[in-house]
Symmetry: C2
């Protein structure tokens, strides 16, 4: 008999990686550790949630798992550019969990105004299910990080959001603007979405503005107004 | 004229994401920030370095970028199981950079004894090139994290290594043992490679042992001795 991963329709059923029926006795079965492992198994699916952006080499779309890694490393090297004092570790931890809810809620394209409407609801339900797989203290802790990121009311959340905007923009420019062209996104929209970078860092906002100017200048990003709905 | 990412044969040429010829003036060109961005662009390629393990749903092989994210989140929830006192932030930072050298050096399968021979040399050259893209203080800082991880001499490095073993093992079991079957890996090898988990945490070692027992018990992992060379 070969063990298989849970089927899609059975996503909410807990899969116990360390069953008590195992031939090895675990002594005291550690329910806390089992919950932690179940959470780690469940969020593996973030690697299958595709974003609209491409890898910088343009070969394929990026997934949420690798995106969260890239922005976390970016936080390690860019936190010094924050205009306010930030706790860099908090920025790091926030970025490592900021898109986990998309395992259930899916990625919402930043320029999709229709999908944006029910995004808060979808993501809240996802947070309820996913973070609650963890022991309650950790569930509260990770959920608080995610809520703080979403609310953008602290210096850490603003910097995390700025980095979360900067990297996809950089990737879009590196990949020749393909995401914008595929979705008919024009410069005015890109400027609006990326304006909040300056709330965290004037120097990162300068980079963002220069990247957008360059994308327009080289023809990657259209100047035209968006089509009327 | 459309900007394109640097070709493969031109990987060492610095690509300046914020050229001074841009229509936007950056005022003082910030060489430090330009170096940081260049590093972040270069390590994007970690998302294209494939490991031998599959995603937990078995659909495809995992890449280094998403792997580093997953182990970093694992560090956030599992650090409490360390038998020694650890600085959890250091474990996190170590795991976020531990496979960056593979952008140049490639992934070395943990059961490949031939490839293991020149692995240190390949990875050291990769570290020289990649970390040196950063401003020198950050280059030293990230390289020190990687060296510490590789040396396994601190409690943080041992815990990071244990988590870096546990997650692929869990993924292999979830995906039905495909990696082991594809490469003719048997239980004795898996036990040897995963024995070091106990140097960091007795409870994580128990999980590892139970997972291996279960893999053998369910026929995912062969008991036979490896073929003679």
């Amino acid at each position: 008999v070969r063990s298989t991963p849970p089927a899609d329709e059975d996503r909410t059923a807990p899969y116990d990686p360390v069953p008590q029926s195992s031939s090895a006795s675990l002594g005291e079965p550690d329910e806390r550790l089992a919950r932690q492992l179940r959470f780690l198994i469940e969020i593996d699916a973030a690697k299958t949630v595709l974003r609209r952006s491409y890898l910088m080499d343009g070969t394929r779309r990026e997934n949420d798992g690798e995106h969260m890694w890239h922005v976390a490393v970016a936080a390690m090297v860019l936190s010094e550019h924050a205009d306010e004092t930030v706790d860099p570790t908090k920025v790091l931890r926030m970025l490592l969990v900021h898109d986990i809810v998309e395992v259930d809620a899916g990625d919402t394209f930043v320029y999709d105004e229709v999908a944006a409407r029910d995004k808060p609801d979808r993501e809240r339900r996802a947070a309820d299910r996913l973070f609650n797989l963890l022991p309650s203290d950790q569930s509260l802790e990770l959920r608080a990080l995610w809520e703080e990121f979403e609310a953008r009311r602290t210096a850490e959340a603003r910097l995390a959001a700025a980095i979360d905007r900067l990297l996809p923009l950089l990737a879009n420019v590196m990949a020749g603007g393909r995401t914008w062209q595929e979705h008919g996104v024009v410069d005015e929209q890109v400027r609006r979405v990326n304006r909040r970078v300056g709330e965290a860092s004037a120097s990162l906002q300068q980079v963002v503005d220069a990247l957008i100017d360059r994308a327009v200048h080289t023809g990657m990003l259209d100047r035209a107004s968006p089509a009327e709905p």
